[in-house]
Amino acid sequence: MSFLKRFFLPELNSQFLLRVIVVSFASYLVFTFLLIPLKIRGKSMEPTYHDGSYALCWRPKYGYTSFKRFDVVTVRLAGRHVMLLKRIIAFAGESLEFRHGVLFINSRQIDEPYVQFNSDWNLLPRTVAEGKVYVIGDNRGLDMKRHVFGQVNMQRIVGGVVP
């Protein structure tokens, strides 16, 4: 009982003030440089991520691991306040195309279990340039012209996404 009382109604002394400062500073560092909170706007990643839901961008991820196919990543624009949430589907040197909504990489059909909305997208083969990765959203039910996807410079990738 006394623990609960001390937890919810702490004594306002110098130690408490110090704790508040340390926790605030640590939270600022963690949520600015390591785990960036994301509010998802738009439907391009449906059904994996819903419009209005929340996620976290884990920035150090690609410091200790390399990009993997199907990783969900954040792509920055001018800064990190507004980013695109996309999935990596192809790497530099690979040829990519869509035939009636089905993804082909190096002419081999690729199964995409995360895609729930069927499409009739057709995209002629193209090769991913050096230093770039090909990113796309999971929602293929959108009009291809309205869907933002394509190859981006790897340096624009801010981090991975959790959960």
């Binding site: 001018a78 995209l123 981006v152």
Partner: protein, 164 residues
Amino acid sequence: MNNKLAVYSLLILCVVVGGYFVLHSSDEQQIKKNLALLAEYCSTTAQEPLLETMQKISQAAKLCRDPCEVKIPSFSIDREFTQQEFSQHLMLLKKQLPTTRFNFTDTSIIMPGEDSAAITTTVQLKGTNAAGRFADVYELDIGAEKIDGNWLFTSFHVVEFIEK
């Protein structure tokens, strides 16, 4: 005597450094203020009176140099727009997107000279159109120049960082 000299030197240094930052930031603040105004004038509220729309367009055009360079590679646009053309295109845009909010974020400003600035920013468009709710984002490189004491936008380039 030496102590006095040190204190005066320190004070002068503080004034010089402080003055630099105040003057430097005032230009940046003016540019950011103009960007916020541009966003406000480009935004359209539901059932906005035509007179208000016309006023906003006129005020938006006044924030830009005449002519102003516009580059949008995906639409093959790379030319100078007069203030009149700028106003006409903004009017069309407002008609097509009747309830749209513009917002500039992640703005960084580099000033290569006293009277010129290079701005990199993200513009967010949120609103509704015939298809329903939409949210678009674009990265922009904007040029600005100080002309007769006022910061005016001289160029708008849409950065196409993602290529299908």
